[in-house]
């Protein structure tokens, strides 16, 4: 029995590059924040002091470590921990709302950017928009677009993160759509389903697991972004960091950084395991999803 292999939509290859190490990413993010902070601290410095930087940095690290090692149940250290945690949760909220905005906006755009759904003209235009969004970092969005309209604060941060997420999420969604199995789509079409029904019955259920996994992945990235945006005044954990750098409260900075690292790693672990379950199915019932995809999306 021979089977027609329908021409597959040109899609991405199914072996995304290996997962970036989350720990490295987190440390990298903190390093950037630290450099930011040092830049603030050393802004009034003259050049010769730059030579002392390594020594000064070592001193800071020692101070920060002391902060972390102090008994967290005693005042004032317990205050540091709870306050940092509160602000970290605010950062999570900002990231969550931002991701939600990104997911909602990117979903229809993903379909409009998919060659097997939208007419070529629409695809070209939407892809250019997505490319343009991806080319601009959140920070620029936050400073240039959101701050003037909404003022400094969590809303501006969430919107900046949301709009920025649309770029990558839209692209990944369109690629997932282009690489779907055409069999069900064609059979629905041939059975008389309308274009809208074909999308609803044959396409959306097929791409949904992959797309939700991308949303979660993007949430993980957005947590880091919201922490950094906070330094600029968008609320959350970043805002206290910049305040602490100004008063050079190194022990408190140490506690704050520890909270960021711990919470980020915990969320990554949870989100990563959910993504794995979505893509590979829940192991106990032996249910296998559509295809065995490598759980990590391509780097964005």
């Amino acid at each position: 029995m021979s089977t027609i292999t329908p021409p597959r939509a040109p899609g991405r290859s199914f072996t995304p590059p290996p997962a970036p190490s989350k720990l490295r990413e987190t440390i990298g993010m903190l390093a950037v924040t630290l450099v930011f902070a040092l830049a603030v601290v050393l802004a009034d410095a003259n050049w010769p002091r730059l030579l002392e930087a390594p020594a000064v940095l070592g001193e800071f690290v020692v101070l920060m470590t002391q902060g972390v090692l102090q008994n967290p149940l005693e005042a004032p250290t317990n205050e540091y921990w709870t306050r940092s945690l509160e602000l970290m949760i605010e950062s999570l909220h900002i990231a969550w709302i931002g991701t939600l905005i990104g997911a909602i906006l990117s979903f229809p755009l993903g379909f409009l950017a998919a060659r097997n759904v939208a007419p070529p003209g629409v695809v070209v235009v939407v892809r250019q928009i997505l490319n343009a969004i991806r080319a601009i970092p959140e920070i620029i969005f936050a400073i240039a677009i959101m701050l003037p309209i909404f003022g400094l604060g969590p809303l501006a941060g969430a919107l900046a993160i949301g709009v920025n997420s649309v770029g990558t999420l839209g692209k990944l969604t369109s690629e997932a759509i282009e690489s779907i199995d055409t069999g069900p789509v064609e059979s629905a079409r041939a059975s008389g389903a309308s274009r809208w029904q074909v999308i609803r019955y044959a396409m959306v259920p097929q791409v949904m697991p992959e797309v939700v996994a991308y949303w979660l992945y993007r949430f993980e990235i957005n947590i880091r972004a919201s922490a950094i945006l906070g330094v600029l005044g968008a609320g959350g954990i970043g805002s206290i960091l910049s305040a602490l750098f100004n008063i050079r409260a190194w022990d408190r900075i140490g506690v704050t950084l520890a909270v960021i690292i711990i919470v980020t790693l915990i969320i990554d672990a949870i989100s990563g395991s959910i993504r794995h379950r979505i893509i590979h199915g829940a192991a106990p019932r032996g249910v296998r999803r559509r295809r065995a995809l490598t759980p990590e999306p391509p780097p964005v």
Binding site: T3, E186, R290
Partner: protein
Amino acid sequence: MSFSAPSTLATSPALPVRLAGVGRTFAGADGAPDRTVLRDVDLDIAAGEIVALIGASGCGKSTLLRQISGLDVPTEGDVTIDGRHVVPADQRCAVAFQEPRLLPWRTLTRNVEVGIPRTLGREDGRQRVAELLELVQLSDSANLRPRQISGGMAQRVSLARAFARGPGVLLLDEPFGALDALTRLTMQDLLVDIHAVEPATIVLVTHDVDEALTLADRVVLLGRDPDGAPGASIRRIVEVPGQRPRDRADAELAELRAELLDALGVDSHHHAH
């Protein structure tokens, strides 16, 4: 077999199909040479006729059905249904694919529902789905999902989905291929019964010569000319005598069977007396 027509039929009348000089050449990917699969296919199919399409595996039978359904476009020639050109995914046709191609995330009921014309009301549509599942003997499995059923059951769901619209032209690509022998005979009878009550023009691909002779008015043999140009064309058309339902043991049919098997290059072990 007793059979009563579904009460909610929304059947469109059977429509004539005409293939004129149809050819299909696939462009070679990445510098590979072009591949001519079909050439010069001329065939007139009367409204309500059943045509069986037989031929070696890979000779282009499924490809020919795709030209009629408008899921593919011929590179040569024209296909018309009822005098009008076929349009992409032509709604006058219904297709049962060689693979069942069900939607894995929908129950059998909801899969058949995809084929129900939207002009039919909600209640009527629901009733028709139930009747169709009853016809293909799957009422008990109506709420299962495709991964919970066997290949033969899936093929019957696909058949019910194709019947759902009461199409003018019904294109069936090896619809009984995955069925066990007994179910296959039952389904063949069912097709004859449905066709008697609800006549559609049917083009049926099969590799079973007996099935072709039992069901069809004409059997069309598709194949390549060994010395000719590349691409399969119609090698032979056989009129099947008698009325349906036909006696599977008929002697005249046995002659035709031997002839067709011979043309397919299969030794039939049949010796004419």
